[in-house]
């Protein structure tokens, strides 16, 4: 029952139940706690990671589903869009409690990696799956626009 995949650029093999959600595998087995648990049903986005560059909800992705694929968590963010997102998050002081923000940053990064000039409608489409109970939504929107601008410059 071992699964091999690439986690944040490094090959890893985890010996675990193939049905274990990727969320718990990266948190408890790989020791990467940045990815958060919020709902367990792909309803809140706190557990968002990138699978082959796509934003997915790791709480419903079985370990078997990532065999041989590339998984990136918030700890492994390296791309220019990711750095632009994180810088904008700081400059606009987005987080409050911060618990959902790893997921928000992952979703925003995935958006900007595909779309360097997202409209408000694009942001709604990409980010409405990520709940923030502190309702930092206005700042998230503004920070995505700021990050997009900085990537253009």
């Amino acid at each position: 029952m071992s699964t091999s995949f690439v986690l944040n650029g490094k090959p890893i093999t985890l010996d675990a139940d193939l049905n274990m959600p990727l969320l718990w595998a990266v948190r408890e087995l790989a020791g990467l706690p940045g990815t958060k648990f919020g709902c367990g049903m792909a309803l809140c986005g706190a557990c968002t990671v990138h699978l082959d560059g796509q934003a997915i909800r790791s709480c419903v992705m079985p370990l078997s589903g990532v065999a041989g694929r590339q998984v990136t968590t918030v700890e492994g963010l390296q791309s220019k869009p990711a750095k632009a997102v994180q810088a904008a998050w700081i400059s606009l002081q987005v987080p409050q409690c911060g618990y959902c923000q790893s997921g928000q940053v992952m979703s925003a990064t995935a958006l900007l990696e595909k779309n360097t000039a997202p409209t408000d409608a694009d942001i709604d489409a990409a980010m409405s799956g990520n709940i923030c109970r502190c309702a930092t939504y206005s700042r998230i929107r503004a920070a995505i626009h700021t990050a997009a601008q900085s990537l253009k410059a």
């Binding site: 706690p33 919020g38 709902c39 968590t73 409050q96 940053v105 309702a135």
Partner: protein
Amino acid sequence: MTQETTAVRQPTRRAFLKGAGSATAITLTIGFEWAGTTRRAVGVAAPSAGTPFAPNAFLRIGADNSVTVIAKHVEMGQGAYTGIATIVAEELDANWSLVRVESAPADATRYANFALGKIQGTGGSSAMANSWMQLREAGAKGRAMLLSAAARQWHVPVTELTVANGIVYHPGSKRQAPFGSLIRTAALIPVPDQVTLKDPKDFKLIGHQVPRVDVPAKVDGSAQFTLDVVLPGMLVALLKRPPLFGATVRSFDASAATAIPGVVKVVQVPRGVAVVANGFWAAKQGRDALKVDWDDVNAEKRSSTAIMDEYRRIAEQPAASARSEGDSAQAIRNAAHKLSASFEFPFLAHAPMEPLDAVVKLTASSCEIWAGDQFQTVDQGNAAKTAGLDPQQVSIHTLYAGGSFGRRANPGSDFIVEAVSIAKACGADGTPIKLQWTREDDLHGGLYRPMYFHKLEAGLSEKGELTGWRHVIVGQSIMADTLFAPIMIKNGIDPTSVEGAATIAYAIPNLTVDLATTKSPVPILWWRVVGSSHTTFAVEAFIDEVATAAGEDGFTFRRKLLEHQPRMKAVLELAAEKAGWSKGPMPKGKGRGIAVAEAFKTFVAQVAEVSVDETGHVKVDRIVCAVDCGTAINPDVIAAQMEGGIGFGLGAVLYGQITLKDGRVEQDNFNSYRVLRMNEMPKVEVHIVPSAEAPTGVGEPGVAPVGPAVANAIFAATGKRIHVLPFPKPSAA
């Protein structure tokens, strides 16, 4: 003199280090190292080396110039760490980039919240208000001692010294010394009894855009929440709780649960049956497989509709008086125009993003707790009682809380007590146990904002003057049966049931506010902005109906009734002005509404602009918010709390409800307990009233007016009033 001061000083410092004994260990451990994973503390500077200078319980300065501020309040998103550090750093004249924050150990003698009495805890939007003078003094005394130290080292008078950005200067001799180089001497200086605080015009941090201390770690995933605690040998527990409130375990069959690989133990505790495993996934599968037979003889089996029917009947019966002025019955009887309306409010869950969790390490003589702890000394007492220890044997590491909205501060310490009881049932052998709630546990778990029924009546004279007002509130008491009941409940009135209604600010000659308190096994709790989460809606929606009946617009009518409420009137006027209220009605399909509230001595007015389509779908386009919270310690944090409060309150009025069907909660997760999402967030503008008053809170008050402002805007757009929350679904509108 030197001898004497040394004698005075040394014990004080030793007492601090020793008294903080467990404390020092705690503060040095929190957030840094667990199971070999190096994590970083809040802030930018590394922990200081050597013996730090600790002039009081809130401040430590290291030889490396780092300034550590000890926070007695939890950081749950409201910006308390930043506010606390700002106040100390301001009076200390510290270099902000070297300031870091540590959470205080549980200790009511040093870290009580003055707003709550002899309790260390956070709530009622009180962190800044109760810390303000205490922390200014703490910073100022530290500064005075550093200055004295420099004066002693350089043999110059203190009056010739200046200080800025963590450096003491002697301009005459062009000498300068960073704080860290002065701490050894400063430790020998007696703590001054009195200090002069800064003139607010000299503030460099307070009132300015100071970046939050917690943001960088909350952007790269390194911020430490309870979920992230890993200790050697730690097990994870999930608790199966009764499906009905008030039910208890009759028997259970653990055979299928223990057959799951990774499940270590299944133990019964007072609140249910816990499955303890080597990780979340095994514990979850084990709990799914666990069979429990429940005794529901004393359980709540009613549906929420039946509860509301009962409340409606109770509202017609005599109730306790919360406020009575003049003769409202006669005034309404004799009025030229009479109005009445009722409002229905559902149970609401807090649903913080981080599902409740706590880590407990219990032995026969000690209990160590890691949690996003909001009620430290209450939790300490309840944990001690559960464990059979003295409170002094219980230590608490307060971590970042992934939201709370009131949920983590509860008089019964539910999730903390559960974790301790599981550790106890597992043998109290020092094995760390993390209790993890799921989202379903959170929504099914009670401690909701109570259901309420409000009945209002008003009378208007021929000229449209409001002559009489009668308000009846029916619902459970939050304070009843808690440690707060004896001080809080007077003459049958729980003030948290009527705040915002009994304290109505409008000038009304004849006024009655009554309260009927109900009982139910459904556990209830304060929810962000507490009583004003329902009273403000009832008052502000009804006053709008009265304004319409009087032939006036909502702003003008309110303003006339607030002549003797200058701060409330000022926020009302500011919000109206910034929103362009004077431009008059909006185009067809759009509407503008206004509401104002005072909560926790902070004044907030909001103007909402909405669009309503032909199906009744409501889009909230813009909220203009004016707030007066006294001295604005951090304007950007204030704006953020208003924005967040608006989004939180808006989600609740649009969708929020926990309903019971034959006692069973009908909502399971975010699909059935809807909250606000990105595409529904309005544009928000926040305007802060300049003020020299002492600061008041901002975490909660922004929630209060948004619901009624939006409801009043919907009326402006559609001519329909809303009396039942949450708002009707589009198809039903």
